[in-house]
Each structure stands twice: as structure tokens, then as C-alpha cells.
Symmetry: C2
Subunit: 145 residues, 2 copies
């Protein structure tokens, strides 16, 4: 999660909502990415989507079985759906997103029946730093506005 | 929806799950795409995601306000989330996806509170052709298996 946090810092420096992630397989980081929505001017370019694309390219396989994603914020509906579609084994997130989170917050995947894959998920370390970084980003935004 | 269906036919010919879509603004098609999951070897490359990316590039704006997407199959959780994130006005789908659909089937967005955007959605025309194309694709797959 430390590497994911460093990715989130990159997003912060680029004036993007500071979210970062890494995908790990067999104890090796195979992909890392940060949110690039503003830079790429595309609503799809969340950290997780960028990271899934990189991991699939690296493995030459859309199926990310055997992989874990470490992400600094609970994934939104789009990213949770993408992680399900990619058949990732496990999602570790640093802090919850009460508004947009789609694992345990706004959408709770345990309550959705019939998904074709249910990744394991858990809250992980570095929560305070990841959450403070997000708060600081939105505080700056409000002050500028 | 006829153009979306033609896109789905392209996917069929490329041995991809046959889903196609177009994004329309001010009565003009600004983007069209078909499912490219196998070709791009990436779980993210559904028709809607490819189409959102093209539309955002065309408009030079991640925000697809004022746009409608016509898609041959009810979007999955990832694509519905992406359409919400892109603030699209309206989703017209030809046929429902009882297993993976995330508008009115497996996930019902009306029942999720607190999303930051609720696109309008409706079932549209060309249902039979779009549904037959999907059935034919999966029938061929089973026969080959």
C-alpha cells in the first residue's frame, strides 16, 4: 500500500483526485497507476482502470486470477465492476468512500446476487495517510473556489 | 440503434461477444464502438468504455452531458458506473441482460441512493435482432466447445 500511496501522491501533484493503486501477483508488483481523469480528460481513467489495463498487458491476459489490487480508496461502481470483470482475486483498500464506494459503502457487493465473480476484499494499512491526502486535496479545491 | 447493431455485428465477426453502441449529441453520432475484450485482451474493453473514451476525445471533455448512448445490451456494472461517472444524460439499450445487467436487472440503479448522477434509461428498438445475435454467438460457442 506504500507504493499505492506514492502513486496517489503523483495524482495529487498533478491536481487529480489523489488515488493510486498497484496490482501484485506472486509477491511482485506487476502494475501501478494513479488517477488520470483530468489529464486524459476521460471519466474512465481512474487509477484502477489504468492499472487493470497495464496488468493485463503485462500478463498478456485479461484474466487477473491470482492477483491482488492495493488501492488507496474504496473503488467506485465502475472500478468495482472492472475488477469483477477482470476476475481479480482480492481487493485491499486503504480507506472507505462513503459516497461513491461500491464494495461496502454506497453499493455493497455482498448484497448483489448472481455476479459472475466475487473478489475477496478487506480494509488495509496506510488508511490515515491516504484519507488525509484526499481531505487535503478537497480542502485546497474549496479554498481556491 | 441500427448503427449500434452494425457495431455489434463487427464484434460478432471478430469472435467477440456481440455488443455495439453509439453516442449521440445534438442528433449527431459522435462515437461508435464494439466490444474488443478479446482483441485487446483486456476486461475493460467493453463497447461502452471504448465509446465513452472516443466521445470524450471528440468533445475534448470527460463530461458527456447532453449525450445519449444507444447500446445493444443492458450495460454491466462497470459500464453503468462509467456512464454515471461520465454524466451521460440517457442510456437506451436494446435488450436486457438478466445475469449481468446493472440498470434494471442484476443491479437496479434506482435502488441505489446517493449516486452523484442518475442517467435516464429506457428499453429501445431492434431488441429482437440484438438478442438473436447474442444467442447465436453463444450457441456457436457451445457447439465448438
Amino acid at each position: 500500500m506504500r507504493i499505492a500511496y506514492k502513486e496517489a501522491l503523483k495524482a495529487f501533484e498533478e491536481d487529480e483526485v489523489p488515488v493510486g493503486c498497484v496490482i501484485v501477483k506472486d509477491n511482485k508488483v506487476i502494475a501501478k497507476a494513479h488517477n488520470q481523469k483530468e489529464k486524459k480528460n476521460c471519466a474512465v481513467s481512474h487509477a484502477e482502470i489504468e492499472c487493470i489495463k497495464k496488468a493485463a498487458r503485462k500478463l498478456d491476459n485479461w484474466n487477473l486470477k491470482g492477483c491482488t489490487i492495493y488501492v488507496t480508496l474504496e473503488p467506485c461502481m465502475m472500478c468495482t465492476g472492472a475488477l469483477i470483470n477482470s476476475r481479480i482475486d482480492r481487493i485491499v483498500y486503504a480507506c472507505r468512500d462513503p459516497k461513491g464506494g461500491a464494495l461496502v459503502s454506497n453499493v455493497r457487493i455482498k448484497e448483489i446476487s448472481g455476479l459472475n465473480h466475487y473478489p475477496l476484499y478487506e480494509e488495509g494499512p496506510v488508511e490515515k495517510e491516504c484519507s488525509e491526502l484526499l481531505k487535503s486535496f478537497f480542502r485546497n479545491k474549496r479554498q481556491k473556489a
